[in-house]
Each structure stands twice: as C-alpha cells, then as structure tokens.
Symmetry: C2
Subunit: 558 residues, 2 copies
C-alpha cells in the first residue's frame, strides 16, 4: 500500500510505490495518524515535491520505539558476537537486495549521482561486514582479568574482571550528505548494533524515502534472525515537528546514548539536552571541520599545479558536501603560490553550478559565502557569491565553487573564517614565510583532518607542522587529499571541537563500536554471572590481558 501522491509538483515512479511514508516501530509500519504533520521530500534538481506523503512520528511512536528498544536490550544486550555478526551480514545483504530502487530514490532525494550512490552503498555494506568480522572475532571488548589472592595480607586481593559492556538503546541522527553511509543504516547504526545496542533512528527529512527503504531492510534482517523487533526502529521526522521529535527521543529514559552527524549547532544542541537529563547520557556528535591544507615551499615550487588539481578535486567532490572537504589552504606567498592559486581557480572555474543536497543546504552555503565575503581583507578570487539573502533560484538547490584569498593576520582575527562552509569553497591563506605557516597551524581549531604537502627539502618545517597539527586533528594526511575516508581499523574520523564533541573517539572504523560500550568491572563475581568473555575457560578464545599479560588461552588452574 503506497500513500497517495498529492500536490501540483508531485512526481511518481515505480520505486516510489514501495514507500509507505510511515515510521517503523516494533518491526511494523505505524499509523498513519490523521492528526500528525505530514511532509514531503523534495527533488533538489527541481525543487518539486516527490510524490509520497510522509507522516512525522507521533509522541506515541517515539515512546513506543524507545521503550521497545529498551525491552529488546534485555536479550540483544546479551547476544553473542556471532549472532550479531549474522545480523549485520543479513542487513548488508538486504540493503544490496534493494537494488536499483534504493539508488533511484536516494538519487532523486539528494541529487547525488548513481555512481556515487553505488559506491556509497558498497561502503555501507562493507562497514557492516567489517564490524561483523570484528564482533565475531571478539577481541575488541578489551577483556582484562586480574586473579584474586585471597591469602594476601593485610587485605585479600579480590578477583577483578573487566570488559566493555553495552550502554543500551542508541538514538541515531543521520547526516544529509551520506543518505546511506552515515544515515539510517550507516556507521552509527552499524556500530551500535555491532556493540549490542538497539537503535532508534530519527529519519533525515532530506531523504525520508531512502531512510524508509533501508529501515525496512534492517527490520527484515532482525526478523530473519528471530531477534526482538525492538532492536531497530525508524521514525520519520520532518516538517514542523522535526526538532520536537529529536528532543523527545534524546530525553527518553530508555535512550542511553546518541549518535549524530551534522552541524555544530545541531550536535551541540543535542549534547546540551542530553547533559541536562537527570541521568545524563553521552552524545557522540561528528560536526564541523575546515580540513586545512598546508603546502610547504619546496613542494609548492615543484608541484604547484599538481597540488592545485588534487585540492580542487577534493574541494568539489560531491559538490563539496563531504565532512573532509578542504576549506582552508595555507601557502607561503611566492611566485609558486601564485601559480598554485591560478591553477586552482582554473580548475574551479571550469565547473558549472551543481545540484546540492537540498535547499536548506544550498541556502546555508550561500549564507556562508556572504559571511566570508563581508570580512575585510578577504578577496573573492574566483567563482560567484549569490546576492545576500537570496534563496536558490527557481527553488532549485544549487551551488557553484568559490575561492577566496586572505592573509594570516586576517585569518587569525576573524573567527568566522574558521567556521566550516559546507559546499565547494575554500580560502587560500597567504603566509609570509615559514614562521607564519607554523603560526597558521597553531591557530586552527579542531578538525577531522589536516593535510601537509612537503618533500625532503621541507624536512624540519613538515615536522613542526605535523606536531602542531597532531594536537588539533584526528587524521594527518601527507601529500594527499583529505577526502576519501578509508573504512579500516586504524582510521580516525573525529577530532577536537568543533570536529566532534568527543575528541577521544572515532565515528569510522571498529573503534567506533567502543562509543556504545563502557568498561565495567566485576569483583568476585560468581562464575555463572560472568559474560563468556570473562569466564575462566575463555570459551570465545579471545585475546585477553590476564594478570597484565596478553594471552588467548584459558586461565590455568595454578
């Protein structure tokens, strides 16, 4: 049963007919409730509503999703790594099985190309499979055992065993820019499920149809694995109730942690809400990042054009709508840096305006370009800035690249230049000599990445830049572009504020699972109350630290 299309601009397709516009709670579509707000997805290429009416989740839906997640936690929290590995593999398969319908709907809702979305789907499922591998293998829980010594004097030494234990239900707020990889079935959901935490997703209003299809694939997997349907729920969210839905979810007593990918304002608002609860819960928010690039003089002298090409490619990747797009480029002023700037400008000016994710994104981009333009001593090198206050023409969501230039002093004295501009835009910061380049590195705020271009003749400078930047970022890239976040164990996708609110964590890679767990110590616990990971026999054959030594064996009876 598909909801009726309404409105003059509504468009239809066979794929759309699969969408009901309803939240999924307890494994079933809920509603529609005649009294709640409805909203539409929009095609950012045309500004037209896409022909499905979405029903924003009611308060009852939210409560039921959160309480259901809490009930499910009783069993899911005790599930084995093997059981969850099978669930994740099943989800990956079900998402793949959605086939072209998923790509079609995601493309219509976000304006992203099918090629990009196919790669993103692959990234989503390979993340699921990596996490499945990690929890099946089992070492990740940091099991640690210190055996007791009841005869010790003056006080007996207790038997102490600790490991990461799951927090409970997690609320996930996905990102606009990755409708698959950082949204309904993205990294936060995958890592929380892998960590044995039920998930309630607050759907993103810029891609509700995509969200619903993925949610159904996940719910199907939960059912196929005969797990409690409360393990996963999806709440449509949009229109006037959008904020209220998020707030109610974060404040619900059954929700024990929050994952968020999006703006600094949004992330910090959730962080505040969560910390004002009677029982504060952790929020893991991945937010804004300028991803500064530092180009050392020798490297610039030899490779100005090549670096410009790489920076331009990274800036305009997905119309600059990546968390890791470079927004600041620090150079030492010279003939070579002039060549670099010209070359960068040429690469960018080839580009026509392109469709952005939605009007709220393109409007925000235009607003930021205007804010940048208004700073004294900031010069627009190339590209165009929409007239202040203008909204996207013809209701389309479009953005064209813009390149600015300024000096270090201006950069340092204008905090607005350190705010992320989400879209294809960068500021070249001209430094007078190497010391200013180092001062620039010491002045940047937290960021997901920083990049250094340098060669053997830039030796000491690279070292100085690297140690300053290490303090400020999650990932330090050498002679490369910051976009392209590899999903692997050593990846760090995080960083000090404003890149994230929890600089000790990462949102990508298996370490992301640790966000949804907390180390708990069991003192003199009866054998039958210990999780398998901590039992004498080491039935899962995982690597543990026993009396300070790493071992995969059982406890010897000594």
């Amino acid at each position: 049963m598909s909801a009726q299309a309404t409105g003059a601009f509504a468009t239809r397709s066979k794929a759309l007919e699969k969408i009901e516009g309803l939240s999924i709670v307890g494994g079933k579509a809920v509603g529609p409730c005649p009294k709640v707000d409805q909203f539409f997805a929009e095609d950012p290429c045309s500004g037209r509503a896409i022909g499905v009416e979405y029903h924003a989740a009611t308060d009852a839906d939210i409560d039921s999703a959160a309480s259901g997640a809490w009930s499910a936690f009783a069993s899911f929290g005790q599930s084995s790594g093997e059981e969850r590995a099978v669930l994740l593999e099943r989800i990956a398969q079900n998402i793949t099985d959605l086939g072209p319908s998923l790509l079609e709907i995601a493309g219509r809702e976000t304006g992203l190309s099918v090629t990009r979305l196919r790669a993103e789907r692959e990234r989503t499922t390979s993340t699921m499979l990596l996490f499945a591998h990690v929890v099946r293998q089992g070492d990740w829980v940091h099991a640690t055992i210190d055996r007791g010594a009841p005869a010790r004097r003056p006080a007996p030494k207790p038997d102490l065993r600790s490991m990461l234990r799951p927090l409970g239900p997690v609320a996930v707020f996905g990102a606009s820019n990755f409708p698959l990889a950082y949204s309904t079935g993205g990294g936060d959901t995958a890592s929380a499920l892998a960590a044995a935490c039920p998930v309630v997703v607050k759907g993103h209003p810029l891609h509700p149809g995509t969200g619903e299809l993925v949610a159904r694939a996940i719910c199907d997997a939960v059912a196929q694995c005969s797990m409690d349907p409360g393990v996963f729920a999806y709440l449509h969210s949009g229109g006037r109730r959008e904020r209220a839905i998020g707030a109610r979810l974060v404040r619900h007593q059954s929700i024990r942690a929050v994952g968020f990918t999006g703006s600094v304002g949004g992330g910090m608002a959730l962080d505040r809400m969560a910390s004002e609860r009677d029982d504060p819960i952790p929020v893991f928010a991945e937010m804004g990042s300028t991803n500064p690039v530092f180009i050392c003089p020798s490297s610039m002298e030899k490779n100005a054009e090549r670096i410009a090409e790489r920076v331009a490619g990274s800036m305009t990747n997905a119309v600059g709508q990546m968390c890791t797009c470079p927004g600041l480029v620090f150079v030492c002023e010279s003939d070579a840096s002039d060549r670099f700037a010209k070359s960068l400008m040429n690469h960018l000016s080839d580009r026509m305006p392109e469709t952005m994710l939605g009007r709220r994104v393109s409007d925000a981009f235009g607003k930021r370009l205007n804010e940048t333009t208004r700073v004294e001593h900031v010069r627009l090198l190339g590209g165009s800035v929409p007239a202040a206050g203008s909204k996207s023409a013809l209701r389309k969501a479009e953005g064209a690249p813009a390149l600015f230039m300024t000096d270090l002093k201006t950069f340092i004295h204008n905090p607005t230049l350190q705010v992320e501009t989400f879209g294809p835009s960068a500021i070249v910061v001209n430094c007078r000599g190497e010391q200013e380049l180092r001062d620039g590195a010491a002045a940047i705020l937290g960021s997901l990445t920083a990049s250094i271009w340098g060669d053997e003749y830039d030796g000491r400078l690279i070292k100085n830049l690297a140690s300053a930047l290490e303090q400020r970022v999650g990932r330090l890239v050498f002679n490369g572009a910051p976009t392209g976040v590899e999903v692997c164990t050593s990846m760090v996708h995080g960083g000090p504020y404003p890149a994230s609110n929890q600089p000790h964590t990462t949102a990508v890679g298996p370490r992301a699972l640790e966000r949804w767990r907390r180390v708990v110590c069991f003192q003199n616990a009866p054998k039958d109350l210990l999780p398998p990971e901590l039992q004498d026999e080491n039935p899962l054959m995982i690597r543990r630290l026993v009396d300070g030594r790493s071992t995969e064996g059982a406890l010897d009876a000594a």
Copy 2:
C-alpha cells in the same frame, strides 16, 4: 629557608620547617609576592592553624606554570616510555624518601592516622611503579597499522597508522580525602606523566604542606632525570583566591586537559568552564557516589550479622571519607532485615565522633545529615545529627556515624536521598519484596560501585539486579564491601553521572592513562615522521594490530 609561623594558634615542628609555603614553578619555589593572599593549613583535631604561611599562587605564577608546561611538552611529549618509566620510579623513590616527615605533616593536616597514611603512601608509589611498568612495556598505546595498496582500484588504498598520542599539559585538582593517592602525586598526576603530559597541580588547601613536600619530590625527580623543569609545577591555592586560581588554570590556552577528584559541584563547574573555551578541552572529573548495596533475601536470612559488620566497616572506613563508602542499603523487609539493621546500628553506635578532614568537610557532612532528616518518612535509626546550621564545636572537625531508614517510595520520590553524603552515614531502604528491590536497582543514579549480597538461592534475583546495576556503575561487587579499590589493570573507578562526568573512563588502573591521550591517525606519513610505535621495524617490540591481526613482530616486506 622556612616561612615564619604567625598567629596565635600556630604550632611548629621539625618536619614543618621543611616547608616554605611557596608554589613551585620551573623547578623552583616562586615568590613570596607581598601582594598575594596568604592562608594557613588547619589541624582538624584542634581547629588551630598549623604554623606555616602559604602564599596563594599569583596570576603570573599560574601563567608561568602553564606556559612552562607547554614548552616542556615539546620534548616530554616525545619522550620514550622507558624515560618516563625511570621518571616515575624516581618519583616513587623520592616520595618514599620523604620518610616520617611526610606522614607527620599529612597526619596533622588531615587527621588521618599514620597507619592509614603509610598504606596510602604505599598505594601512591605502587601506582607509579605499575604505570612505569605499563609505559615501559608499551602495548597500551593501541598501535594499529593498515598497510596501503597503491595499486587498488578505483582508488589506491592509503597507508594508515594510528595510536594514542598525548594531549599536552594537564591541570590536576586533587582530592581532600587522599592527600597522597589522589592528590599532588596521586593517580591523575601519575597517569598524566606516564602518558607524556606535563602536569600543573592546583594544590588542595586542606593539605598544602603535604602537597608542597610531594611536589618537591616530583620536581627533584624531573631534575634527576634531566628533563625540562616545566614537566611539573605546583600552585599553592587557598583563601579567597582559591576559585580564581583554578579558573585561570582551566582557561589557560596551554592547558589541554583537566583531572579532578572531588564534589559534583566542583567537577561540573570545571567541566562548564572548559567547555566554554574557544577550544574546549576535556575534563575528567570523579565526583559523587552513593555506592548502593543490595542484599538478597536468602543471603540476608543466613548472614544478616556478618553483612552488617562488613557494611559498618566499609561505611566508617576513614570516617566515611572514601569515594566508595556505601551510602544506601537496599533490603527486603523481613525479620532478618530487622536483625541486620539492629546489628548495623550496634556496630555504628560503638563509634565515638572522629576527626574529619577539615571543617569544610565536617560542616558539609552535618548539612547533609540535616537535609536527610528533613525528608518526610525518613527515620534516624541511630547516631546523631548536629543541630541545623551548627558548625563544628570548638572549631574541631568531627563527625559521628548516622543511620537512617526509609521505604522505596520515599527514596524514589526524593532526589536528595541520591546525593552523596560524604561521611559515615547510610540510609537503609526497606523494600517490600524482590520486585521492589529490583525497582530500587533500576532507580539509582550513576555510582562508582554497587554491591550485591546473594547466594545460590537468590539466583535469578542476583542476575536481575546485576544486569540493572551494570548499567549504572563502574564496578559491581559481589558479597563484599565496596571500599578497597585495588590498583590493577582490570579496575574501573568511574561510572555514569554523578559518579563521573566521563562514564567511559576510569581514574584508577592503567586505563587511566588513556584519558590523557587521543587516537591520531597518520596517512601516508614519511617514515621519519612516524612515532617509533608505528614504524615498520616495530623497534619497541610492542603488540600491534596490523591489517587486523594482533602481532608483536615487524612489518614483513611482503
């Protein structure tokens, strides 16, 4: 040179003559500055000033300590685990070498017994030695390597290597109740130094002489190891400037993290200050904890008296001035629970008032007892409550045990009963049946510990309690007392708010080092820029995760 004793109540001793009353910055005593505030330590047994005048740190002292720490970080942050192990061992030796003077001064300032202080000194030095072992061994940094595949299509796979890297200078705010083990040279300082982070200690005004002696022992060790004197600084803090000193330190741009042990109010104030910086920094605050005890019916039936003895001992340990003293005892109302309450009362009523750490502690204890008394349906079972608003008699700092009783409904509806009472006091919460016992477990706020007394006939109930309590505490104790925090790898001394503001961390054990580090990823880094832990050859022979597999070997050239 010792400062002159002043004031009518001043007392002297040979040990006191070793104390100058001056902060230590850059390895040297600074001041005295005639314009700053002075303050005295007080003997809590008499309320008299102890005969040394302390000079509260000036703004210049604070700035110089913080900047010196930042300068020192350039070298100390790059030091080897071996170098820091030697430093920690040297500090332990120097603290031991302070001999009876340290115990005498600590005893006079805190009223704690020499036996207790000797054990605490042993705990302090053994923590140093454990951390020395951990950083010398080197595995703790979670080194992870994913080798690149330049030929991969469509995009080359980068070489990615990550590990925990140090945050920079740490400000440490010690606790009143452990003048050695959680103060100047306590767990926060030891773990920060072990993690390669310079430390600036804000001295505790209840034991400034102890602080100064320990600080000097640490500074001597830094000098003996030929390290930058900025690695450690100590700021005297007390009198009217106490808060201002802490605030300036936390807001200083060179300070990159904060460790705190103390009250919820104090910890959260620092947390807010740190998060309001332009570049927010993490605060790790260990705060208030009620350490609830749950006694199952079968165990109560058989062991009421024995459990009462253990609970009484744990409650009154160090006059109830331990973070892990039990403040709530949940029982199923029965004849056995009556026997338990009577027995507990008998143990407590044997006790005379004892000296507490200082008047601010005993006054706060009296205030909390009054707040508890005022709650309707809370009954004082035994002990005495000082008249409301009364201050410690004769300027002495004293506290006597108090035992209250209430029912579950009253407990649940009066949040004040979940606030820690720092001192020898507990509330017995009478539950009507096992379900109410479980409801009690589900109602408690975050705590460092919870304890369950149960035997094989309490089987399912224990399991239910354990899974509810696991959600709320850092350490779950079975059939034992919560006091007595073992320093070992599997210890967790932390928990959800209000036990700490960072529930994912522990303040005790080697995992405490991870608070002062953050995982940083190096992408395609030139060999000579990689820390030894991430180099191909694995020169430190540490355990690493290479391409997802745990190994202690070098990277093979394959």
